[in-house]
Every structure is written in C-alpha cells, then in structure tokens.
Symmetry: C2
Subunit: 547 residues, 2 copies
C-alpha cells in the first residue's frame, strides 16, 4: 500500500508543518528534554542511543496492534522497509493477545514511512538521518499517526528502531502505548562508522549466532560488523580458488561456505549493517598453511606467511578476488598487526630472499602489507589496516588507508594529522574481552580525544568495539558483547553534548540498564550493567532494572 502515491499532498503538508511551524508544536505542551523532566515519573521513555534532537509532550497514545504501513517517496516501496516493519511489529506487539479486544479504540492506527531516495546501496556514509513524529493528526482529529521521514531506507530503519523504543506495553490496559506524546525527533549519527568486531577464528560462531549478534547490533544502531573471519587458529571460510584453505578449519563442521557469507551480508544489509571482512596478513595466518604448507616459511616456523614466494601473493589475490564477490562493502580489512619476522630471518630460504632483495624483516613486512594493499585496491577496496602498519611505515601506506587503532590512545591524532582516516578501538576501553573495564570507562572514551582541528576530526570515521574470541564462543559472545557494546554505540551515535549534559552518569546508567533489559526482552543475552567483571552472573535475586 502506498497511500501517498495517489495523493501526494498530505506528505507535503506534513513536511511544511514540521519545518515551518515549530511554534505550533511548542504550544501543544511540548517540553524540551532535560534530565529532570526525563525522569520525573514512571511513564518515562528511555531511548538508547539518545537522539540528537527531540521534544515531547504529556499525552499518552494507544497504538493499534493492527498498525498499518503507508509508504511513500521514491524509496518507500523498498522490501527493506517492508520487512523491517514486520520485524518491528513483532517486537512492539509481542505481548498483544491474539484475540483483539472489542470496544478498544486506539489513538494511532497508521505508520507513514517516507523515503526520498530509491538508492539502496549501503556504503560508508550512507544517510542514516531520520525524523520521527508521533502525534494526533491535527487539532480536530482523534486519530493520530506516526511518520518517519528519511532520505534513505537506512535512515528509515533507524527511525523504526527509535519508534520501537517509544512504544511500551502497558500491563494495566494491555495496550501498547506511547507516553509523553507528541514526540518529535530529528536524529542523525555523530560518526559514520560504528562497528563491532566478531572473531570467528579463535572460536567458530555458527551462522545463527552471528545473526543474533547482527540483530542486536541493529537495536543499538551500530552499522558495521567487522568480521575477523580467519586467524592463526583456524580458517573457516570457503575459498573456491584455493579449496584446501578451509582444511584449516577446526573441523569439517566449523566452516562457512561462500553462500553462508553471502547470507550474513544480506541479513546484515536488511538491518542497515555493513559487513567489513578481514584477511589479516602477513601475521595471524598460520592456519592457511594447513591446506597449503608452502605458505609457511618452513614446517617448523609457520608465521608470518612466506614473503619470499609469489605463491603467497597468488593465494592472497585468490582469496580477495573470491571474497570480493560476496562482500560489497567498500572497506576491507587487511590486518597487519603483530607481525614478528623471526621466521623470515631464521628460515634459510626466506633469509636468502631478504638478502637478495636487500631487505630487513621490517622492510619485508612493509613490502607484504603494501603488496596486499595493491591487491585490495585493484579490487576497488579501500584498505583498512591495524595501527602497527601506520606506526612502522606511515609515509609508505596507500594514502587511502584507514588506520585502525587498537594499542592505546594517541594514534588517531597522529594518523589524522598525516591525512589518514582512522577508526578508534583503543584496547584499554573498547576491547570487550577486557572483562574488567566497567561500562562507564567504555562510555566516556571518545574517538576524538586529542583531536581539536575540525578538518582532522572529520578524518575520524568512528570507532569499533572488539569482541575477540579467545575466551568467547557461541555460549557467551552475546553476554560479553552486551551491554558494553551499547555504551560504544551511544558514544558513536549521539551528539556528544546532549549525551554528556546534566547528570549523565546517573541518566546514562538508568537508560543503559533499561536498554539492557530491552535487549533481554528481545531475546538477547545481555549481562547486568554494573557487574564488576563483564558477563558475571547476577549476585542474587533482583530486578533486571537494578543490576
């Protein structure tokens, strides 16, 4: 159904109304948010991450469980919008009895989704902004409406998530209600890159578990799954060109076909999440040699990949070319961290090659990374590399390289000063496997720390929470990820000023506790917020909202 296709006027009126009559909104008991107002009664609406601008009133509106969808705009007919609407209906009306109630009248019966662009390409910097209005239609109408307006379908997805957080099941009336309406929200992300790393090499994560993580990411408005597929421990991915590579999987059952990878990419796209794959070279790659032992410097010295053989780069090319077919995201992670060149300098054949080429171990490290970057660039990929590459040979890197910080603070400032783009993942604050980092330390970290120049700030694409898998597997990856990844998500989405104003420690904590419980209501195994160690069980009986 496309209500506005046959009658475009309402959309236009609505748009003018929003844009030019803010006083009308203000005159209808709208208040601008402040901490005290947000928490002054128990019909509070907690939104996570906090939208950049919002205002609300004091009405309570009941939402019809048969909420209808009316789409308009060039992108309104998208299957991405339609499927998301069905998903969110299941979330919003979870508690609704299948028997509809006689005699109940609802204040809101329709959701309008206006998407201006039909372009569904999901890339870095895609427009995720949206506006959301929940109100009675006009002064004289008793029936209200919800309108989400966005430039792209991905903005509409973000608006749907926010809407789902405005809707609360009221156990007294057994209806879904929006408290403190009318709501007017204008929202957009602070950073364009808001990532979560999953490591499927240290422990294989089944597709269903990866999908659970992607679903939960969408609730926090994260938008990049950094899939650290392969590492030294196992090589689970199918590479058709070099079919022996996944002999490096732990078992024949702990593998991903190319179709699996494609399924993950598509599942993520339907939720507005890009998948950035990583092939970490030349270190962290011992598992490659299970299928092709020639990739090892020698059978007794297996890492880094043998820099001296063209075969090594043939395999890198083959892997990347095969992966290019299923990973459309413009960014591709080439790793480059923790390269210890001892095997190169101690293995006679490689040592000889280094001498022949007048290279030290570090020269060969640089040579390997740059050659891999060229392969990625030839496939129209922008290379992302861990910070050691920048720390070791900053002037040699492809200038398009995105430097991925992890070792500590101060790297993004140096990288952007040299004109590189940067992703912030300081391990002291955003490595989720560091279990002793409390939520507040995660929350108060900032990717722009130490960067004051506006043009340099623009080079910081955002940041990423890293869920390394040495001690996290299918049984505990969600409870290790959440709720702390949500603290990262708000830091990356929300306007820093609004999220830091007032007594934020208190209000952020309350909202985060609420969000953690929202995750559990949606079936996500999020751990208590104020745990001394992340993912510890609760210490005793109690409410989800006070842990």
């Amino acid at each position: 159904m496309n209500a506005d296709a046959s009658n475009p006027i309402p959309t236009i009126i609505f748009f003018i109304y929003l844009s030019f009559f803010p006083l009308i909104i203000a005159s209808r008991n709208l208040k601008h948010s402040s901490d005290s107002q947000l928490y002054d009664d128990d019909s509070i609406t907690y939104i996570w991450p906090l939208p950049s601008e919002f205002s609300f009133g004091n009405q309570t509106l009941a939402v019809d469980p048969n909420l209808s969808l009316a789409v308009s705009g060039n992108g309104g007919g998208s299957a991405i919008v339609k499927e998301a609407f069905e998903r969110y209906k299941l979330i919003i009306f979870k508690h609704h009895s299948k028997l509809s109630k006689f005699g109940v009248s609802y204040d809101i019966e329709k959701l309008n989704v206006i998407v201006h662009s039909a372009n569904e390409e999901l890339q870095l910097g895609v427009d995720e902004s949206y506006s959301l209005l929940v109100d009675k239609r006009d002064e004289h109408s008793i029936i209200g409406e919800i309108t989400i307006e966005a430039n792209s379908v991905y903005g509409a997805l973000r608006g749907l998530e926010t809407l789902s957080q405005l809707c609360a099941f009221d156990y007294g009336t057994k209806t879904v209600q929006v408290y403190k309406a009318p709501w007017y929200i204008q929202d957009k992300p602070r950073f364009e890159y808001r990532g979560l790393l999953l490591d499927t090499s240290r422990h294989y994560l089944p597709i269903d578990i990866i999908k659970q993580v992607i679903d939960s990411m969408s609730y926090a408005k994260l938008n990049v799954l950094h899939w650290h597929i392969i590492d030294e421990e196992s090589f689970p991915l199918e590479v058709p060109t070099y079919p022996n590579l996944w002999k490096g999987a732990y078992t024949k059952w702990e593998r991903y076909t190319m179709e699996d990878a494609s399924e993950v990419v598509n599942f993520a796209k339907m939720r507005g999440i890009n998948v950035m794959a990583e092939v970490d070279v030349p270190g962290h790659a011992e598992s490659w040699g299970v299928g092709y032992p020639d990739l090892w410097p020698s059978p007794s010295c297996k890492e880094p990949l043998d820099v001296s053989k063209n075969f090594t780069f043939d395999v890198v090319s083959g892997i990347l070319a095969d992966m290019r077919k299923v990973f459309p995201f413009k960014l591709f992670h080439l790793g480059g961290d923790e390269v210890h060149t001892d095997c190169w300098t101690s293995t006679p054949s490689v040592k000889q090659w280094l001498q022949d080429h007048n290279m030290t171990g570090n020269d060969a490290y640089q040579y390997f990374v740059l050659r891999a970057q060229k392969i990625a660039a030839s496939l129209n990929w922008t290379p992302v590399n861990w910070e050691e590459t920048f720390n070791t040979f900053p002037t040699k890197l492809n200038p398009q390289t995105i430097v991925h910080n992890w070792l500590g603070s101060g790297v993004c400032p140096k990288a952007v000063a040299k004109g590189f783009r940067c992703i912030f993942s300081n391990q002291g604050v955003w490595y989720l496997d560091h279990l002793d980092v409390p939520w507040s330390t995660v929350y108060y970290a900032d990717p722009l720390e130490g960067i004051t120049d506006a043009s340099e700030q623009k080079l910081v694409l955002g940041g990423e929470a890293c869920m390394w898998g040495e001690k996290a597997d299918a049984s505990n990856v969600q409870q290790t990820t959440w709720p702390r990844a949500a603290a990262v998500a708000e830091r990356l989405w929300s306007n820093k000023e609004s999220a830091s104003s007032g007594n934020t420690t208190l209000t952020a904590l309350h909202r985060l506790e609420y969000f953690r419980c929202l995750l559990t209501r949606r079936g996500v195994q999020a751990a208590p917020v104020t745990n001394f160690y992340a993912r510890r069980p609760p210490t005793g009986p109690g409410s989800c909202y006070e842990q």
Copy 2:
C-alpha cells in the same frame, strides 16, 4: 497433501515390510549398533538422546532441499506436524544456498509422516513413540524416502527431531546428507515425565527467553516445562481475580499477562512440551503480600502465608481457578517446601488460631497443604508437592499426590513403596544451579536408583533438571542449563542398557559434545561440556567439538 488418503496401500505395505522382513533389511548391509561401529569413521551420525533401537547401513543419501511433506493417518493433517516440518526444514537446510543447483540429483525428495491418532491432547503419558526409516524406496528405485510413523503427533515431533540429527550438511558437496543409510529407528521414551524447571521469580525471564528454552528442550526431547512462576522475591503473574497480586512483580515491566502464559503454553504444545505451573504454598510466598498485606501473618513476619485466615485460601482458590483456564496440563505443582512456621507460632493472632484449633506449627503446615490440594483437586488437577510434604505427613497426603524429590537420594524409593508416584530431582545431581557438578555425575544419576520392584519402578514418572534463578537470569540461563540438562534428557529418554553399554563414558561424552555443538548451531548458548564449573567460558581458542 495427503498421499495415502487416496491410496492407503503403500503405508500398509511399508508397515508389513518393516515388521515381518527384518532379514531383508539385514541383508542390505545393515549393522546393529555398537560403540566401535558408531565411531569408526568421520561420517558418524550422533543422535542425542540415543534411540531405543536403531540399525544403519553404509550408504550416503543426499536430501533434496525442497523436501516435500506427505501426511497420512487420522492425525496426519495436524497443524502441529505441518508447523514442525517447516521449523525442521529451516534447521536441516540452514546452509543451503537459495539458488538451487542445476544438475544435482537427490536421493530423497519426500518425507512421509503417518500419524494414526487425531487426538492432539498433550498429557502425561501421551504416546511419544515413533519409527523412522530413511531408505531408498525399494531395490529398483533410485529415489528414496523418509517415513516417520507414530501413534500421536507428539511421536511424530520426536521423529522429526531425530531425523534432523541424521541430516548433516556436507561442506564438500554442499548438500544435506544422511550418512550410513538405510536407517531404521524404533524409539520411545524410558520415562513419561522429562522435565526442566525454570524459575521466573528470582529473576524475571522475558517471554522470548522462555521460548528459546522451550525450543532447546525440544531438541533434547524433554517434555515438561516446570514453570516455577512465583516465589518470595516476586510475583510476576497476572491473576485477574486478585489483580493486586502482580504488584509483587519487581517492576511493572517484569510481568506476565494471562495471554503471555497462554502463549507460552501454546508455543510449548506445538513442540510437544507440557507446561506444569507451580504455586508454591504456604512458604516461598512473601511477594503475595505486596498486593494483599493481609496474606502476611504480620507486616514484620511475612512468611508462610497466614494459615489462620479464610482470605488466604480464597486467594489460593482465585489464583488456581484463574490459572486453570490457561494451564491444561493435568499436573499442578503446589510446592510445600521449606516451610518454617516461626511466623505462625510467634504472631499473636495466628498463635491464638493455632491454640483454638489445637494445632502445632507442623499441624498447620499439613492443614495448609491438604487444603490447597483439595482446591487443586476440585479443579481437576493432580497435585505435585515437594518432598517435605511427604517426609512430614506421608499418610495424610492425597493418594494421587506426586512426590517431587529434591533434598537427596532415597526419597523416591520410600514414596513409591507407599504407593505414591515420584519425580526425581536430587539436588546433588540434577540442580543445574549447582555449578560444580560435572556432566558425568548428572548423566549417571538414575531415577530408579534403589528401586527394584517392577510395580514400584512404574510409579517413578521420571525426573527433572532444576534451573533455579538466584544467580541465573536472561543473560545466562541457557548456558547454565545446557549441556547438562541434555545429560538428564538422555537418562530419561534412553533405554538404560543401550545408553550404558560399552565404553559409555567415551561415547556419551563424544555424543554430548556433538549435541552441545548442535545446540550452538541452532542458536542456543550451550556451554562447553567438560568445564570444571558449568557455564565457564572456554579457556582458550579451540574447536567446539573438543571443549
């Protein structure tokens, strides 16, 4: 589609073929199971829990991802079968590419499900037996079939689960295969009651989390969810007759409506799982008084429920009458454990009542339990009570009472000797919150321990793993439950002799590790099997199959 409705002959032929020509089967390379044969190559099929009788061959059959369903028998048209088939197709063909392969021919294209009875009532002792044949249709046919035959739809569900465990995705051919066909399985449970307790009072478990647990129970062929809804800490359930009771919920969000409860019961029924609700009286009930303080002996002494007031029993009657409408299972748990009568003997009004009725505290405990039993019986419920009731006044209990063991061993032998039925949950072995009990201790416990008389053995209905919630909430209930609840499940389902023959420690461990990984592939957060403490994370990188 009901292929056999129009032509009943194939079913009959099939049945005769199975029943009277075992030699034909044997002549086609079928072997009877033994440990060495089960583990002699890597195309092993691991089934958990172990079926009571099975034989297999040495063929590999590829299953068509467009597997069709043909139903027959009086119960074949059931929606329960149809929905289960759709669920299992998603499980079995999870990895199948959406693009079907050209030129691939499959050995098996059809699943026949024959259900003889149209009766879908799910009660204790419902017939869960089934036979499952996976074979080429006959000597001359190249197309094979799968046939599940059962007396009830619930037997068919068990057969579908077993079938799903026979089907393995082969990463080489990218097809779903059944190894070691032909398979002929005849299976039925050892015990009719195979339970798992969930505690939603110490921590509220959202409906989605409860559904995840129910789904996972069906994979292990457990068949009773013992829903310990209410306890002293919180009263999350709606009781329309006494609407203030759920004021005892932790928060207004941590509640279940009657529609929620009904949804849980229906979701469980679709998976062949009964829901046995518990209202624990007179102890463990402090939360009742939040809404109705008169239920407390006094505001300073709140447990057990005030035995001296008729109002107390009015409320018990009201709760049970309301619950009767949504809990159709014949068994209802009345608790009765850990009743400390100090508040009765120390509160003046109650003390006076005891004196007036010439009762001790223990007399009043008995009086309360028996009066509650009468209320349950009047609602056509069979009362289940924790063992203290039997330990304290065995001769007074309603003879229909099912005694629920928990304190230690030796209670079921005493209970069945007195003619009571019994459920085994010895806390030393089957309390899942006892984190230091290893899987093998769980596995080797047996409900019939100490009972040799066959007629007495029949009175042991089965057993139950108890997942108490003091330190388990939405974030960790699955990883605390699994894999150890699976050890309980096999003990309760499988023929003791077959599950204990040969080198069972080795083979059960391998199968359990495989089943744990099967759970994770289905999105269940099952913990490593050989953890020193249950739900501990893995200690380092590694395969799911070797943890």
